[in-house]
Symmetry: C2
């Protein structure tokens, strides 16, 4: 198999599909999404059978139970995937939105208007639902997409991609607007990451290892979704009950996600009062506590944190806690150890919260709220392709609008430059 030739072919088909897509109306795109949903439903059994092949070979290859669970397209998950398409269909189309009108010299008038990016590459791991979720968001924003999923879910992904291609074809779209890489080895990915004439941006979704691999090998711009080492700073002017509720929610409600809190910083002025209550609340929820020495003196059940704990995204019922002398130390800690994802202050002192919000440089900075609110749906985006920890193009939750770029339209009546 000559990957290079095949990949160039996929790339050039994607580019041609992108030209066709960007000329489609919102209504045409919505019709195509409806056709995709219909085709998926029509092929429900076929897709399930492909998924069973993946599950069986996963079991033979001794995949962990957690991996097998992620791999399975249960009937409920399949229904959720189809329902998700209808959610995206109902969202407003960002393409054509005029962001800004402006007057130029000599009476020229300018407009900055949203247009599709073009061709988006999505590189992801085992969950087959990403195949559809990601493709549908890209399509709705007028982009062609090249998908590369994990080897474990290759049969499921092929079945899903084939259904989407057929839905596109039936609604008069090029079926190559969604293409799945049929090879899952490293060599094919590395070559894909060099197709900068055909792919405009790569969005990797998965663990840190995958994202790092992609970022280091790509000559195409990458929008990274690294880890979330999220902090809550409990200020001396905090409402203690509010602080307890927020920390418990941010740690326990769904510990395995990137917007869960990993480190709590507590102003020393309320440590003696707050720390025992916090410890008792979290220990009752079976949270393992790792504290600095000041915290451990107050909480005998806590382990002493080591340096690595402050960098760690536990994604688990583990929390690190540090007592800090003041808000500046808290802000410095977040700058040094954090991942600039989501960080919160609990305080009723406006000066303190203003300072925190100004000086903490994270995608989302909260005052008196749980870090768990960082997601596309909560931000009114309806659906998200992910949460960017990058600073270029998109930061924080990425919805449809973040899957577009802009162009300028300038209207004149014969103006020339002096």
């Amino acid at each position: 198999m000559n990957y290079q030739v095949e990949l160039e072919k996929m790339g050039s088909q994607a580019r041609a599909a992108a030209v066709s897509l960007r000329r489609k109306s919102a209504r045409q795109k919505n019709d195509a999404l409806a056709a995709i949903a219909e085709e998926l439903l029509a092929r429900r059994d076929e897709i399930r059978a492909a998924n069973v092949i993946d599950l069986e070979s996963g079991a033979q290859n001794d995949l962990s139970q957690a991996m097998l669970d992620r791999l399975e397209l249960t009937p409920e998950r399949f229904d959720a995937v189809v329902a998700g398409i209808n959610v995206v269909k109902e969202l407003p189309d960002p393409v054509g939105t005029i962001e800004r009108k402006f007057e130029m010299s000599q009476g020229l008038s300018g407009e900055k208007v949203r247009v599709p990016i073009g061709v988006i590459g999505i590189i992801y791991e085992s969950r087959p639902n990403v195949t559809v979720d990601a493709a549908v968001l890209c399509l709705k924003a007028g982009n062609a997409v090249i998908l590369r999923g994990g080897s474990e879910s290759i049969h499921s992904n092929k079945a899903l991609a084939a259904a989407m291609g057929e839905g596109l074809r039936k609604s008069g779209f090029p079926s190559t607007a969604v293409q799945l890489l049929p090879w899952t080895d490293r060599e094919a990915v590395n070559l894909l990451l060099k197709l900068s004439s055909y792919i405009d941006v790569i969005i990797p979704r998965g663990g840190e290892g995958l994202i790092r691999l992609v970022a280091e090998n790509s000559t195409i711009p990458v929008i990274k979704h690294y880890k979330g080492v999220c902090h809550i700073y409990i200020d001396i002017a905090a409402d203690e009950d509010m602080a307890l509720d927020i920390v418990e929610n941010a740690k326990c409600q769904r510990p395995g996600v990137c917007n869960a809190v990993e480190t709590v910083l507590i102003h020393q002025g309320l440590a003696s009062s707050l720390v025992p209550k916090l410890a008792s609340r979290l220990l009752s929820r079976n949270v393992e506590l790792r504290g600095d020495s000041a915290f451990c003196r107050l909480v005998p059940e806590a382990k002493l944190a080591v340096e690595d704990d402050w960098y760690e995204e536990y994604l688990d019922m583990i929390l690190s806690v540090k007592i800090v002398p003041d808000i500046d130390t808290a802000i410095d800690h977040i700058e040094y150890y954090g991942s600039h994802h989501s960080d919160a202050i609990v305080s009723n002192d406006n000066d303190a919260s203003d300072k925190f919000v100004r000086d903490v440089d994270s995608a989302v900075v909260y005052v008196n709220a749980s870090t768990r609110f960082t997601d596309g749906a909560q931000f009114g985006m309806g659906a998200e392709i992910g949460i960017s920890t990058d600073r270029i193009h998109a930061r924080g939750p990425m919805g449809l609008s973040e899957l577009t770029t802009y162009k300028y339209r300038v209207i004149g009546n014969g103006q020339i430059r002096n």
Copy 2:
């Protein structure tokens, strides 16, 4: 010299400077810019002496007259550099601008606000004025900057960077907010392009070779400024005099820049009337004409264009011309051969111009105006760092706002996620 150690040190100093810079007010930044201008003026003779060293060694190394000209910091150019600082100083600070306010669930209120990107790497070629122009724009937007100029201008650049560092220091800023790479060999650049923990974005400024080198070797996001193969399509419903004026302006007013026109496409319906007038106008300006066979039949002075002509950015008094049967062929030509920089239609038919503006996917699309208007000053940006031909983050002219990113502020009163 251990480049890696030295570069990591520069990177970490830049990161620390960026943290300091993003906490500075607009007024503090303006004061620093004023101090930089003052320091440059105070060191005028010293800088001139450094420039003379570069010019002498350039002459010894047989640099072309054009290169030596670019290299020279004449008194007029030096004054223009200093005047440019004052222009940037007067521009509004994009940092802190609230782009959007929104209500979230449970009464949370959100704001999307402009913040500095962080650390910007600028890689450029011989003109020493870029050292100051680029650094000052980055600083005004609250960013630290690492500069890497060409070897030919290294003494000039060092003198300019030293003056800027001193100006920063005198106004209470870290002098490391502007750092110049003292090495100009390939190895140092390649290592710089891997410093993704310290540098947030790389902006290369120069020829296609430099940009390609940077894009292919960087693990840091790159905002590319590739070539401008700009088109003017003269529709059947064009005002012929307007078309002649626009083409002459776009080709001749400044042929060596990226927004000059390189290819004109003419609807066949007005070819017999328009082509002789166009040819006579351009030949009288000493423009070399390269046409397709239909054009050459009408213009004996024209050369027959070859396939490569349609891809070519001449940057010279040369124009390629093609007769097309309809607007669709013109749009397809621009899609296939163009560089998506700036393209124009001349037409009094609103349907045709609407179609052109919708379907041509370029950073700037014009109706009845010269492509020469694509620049930051014309777009009300006051100054520009360049013109992006990329689709990610910034497209077209890049001013101060494009040197920022955003973060979200979310204010609550104890909200937790259900």
